[in-house]
Symmetry: C2
Amino acid sequence: MQISEVAKKFGMTPDTLRYYEKEELIGPIEKGKNGIRNYTEKDMQRIQFVKCMRAAGLEISFLKRYIKLLDEGDNTIKERKEILVEQRRILKEKLDAMQEAYDKLNMKIDLCDKFSLRSSGRENK
Amino acid sequence: MQISEVAKKFGMTPDTLRYYEKEELIGPIEKGKNGIRNYTEKDMQRIQFVKCMRAAGLEISFLKRYIKLLDEGDNTIKERKEILVEQRRILKEKLDAMQEAYDKLNMKIDLCDKFSLRSSGRENK
DNA sequence: ATATCACTTGGAGTCAGCTCTAAGTTAATA
DNA sequence: TATTAACTTAGAGCTGACTCCAAGTGATAT
C-alpha cells in the first residue's frame, strides 16, 4: 500500500508518516526500485499502535525507545515491561486529571442550566 | 499573597503565573505601590480552575474566551454554556482515546508477564 | 513529446505553551 | 552604605510534534 492511501486510512498525512519513519517509530518501510514506499500489513499494525499511543499523548521519545526494544527481541521483555508500566502510570495520572476537569465542566454546565431555569421561571410569573 | 508563594502553592513557576495573567486567564492582579502583585483568595480560585483545565489539556485560547465572558456577567451564560459543552465534548473524546491506550498498555503488560512466567516455567523443568 | 501526478529528499517554518534573560526597582540585612 | 533577595518588565529562546517547501524523479495520459 502506498503512502497516501495509508495516510488516508489512518486519518493522518503522508508527512506525518515519513516523520514517524525518520524518528524510527515505524519502518523502515520497504521501497520499490523507484524509491516509493510500500507499506505491509505489519507496518500498518505498528502505525495503528503508534497512532493510538500518540492520541493518548505518549511521547515520541518513549515510543522510539519501546519500538527499538521490540525489534531487539525476547531478551528485552523485562526492560519493555518497565517502560510500559511507567507509561501506564503517567497515563493514569493524566486520565485522573482529565476526569477531574470533566466533572468540573459538568458541574459548571449544570449551574448554567439551573440559572437559566430560575430566570425563565421568573419571566413566566 | 506574593507571586512565589502562590506559585509554590500550586506547583507552578512565577513565570507561568505572569504568563497566564498576560494572556488574561487570570487577573489583572492588584499591585502594591511598589508594583508587586498581591494575589487574593478570588485570584487563587481562578488559578485553581485554570490549572485544572490546563492539566486536562484545554487550550489557553478557550480559557481566555470563557473567562472574558465570566467577567462580563450573567447575560453571557448561554454563550458560556455553549463553550463549556463544546469543551466537554473535546475532553470526552480525549478521555476515550486515552482509555483505549490505557487498556492496550495493560494488555501488553499482561503479555510481558505471561511470557516471563512461561520462560521461567521452562527453566524450572 | 509533454504535461500531469504522486511520489522522493533535506531542511526550513510553524504553533502552543511555556521558560529564560537582561536590566531595573525596592526593601531588608550586614 | 553596600549587598542581597525578591520582585518588575519586555522580549528572546526553547521544545515537541508536526507541517510545509523546493527541487527532483518516474509512470501514466494526451
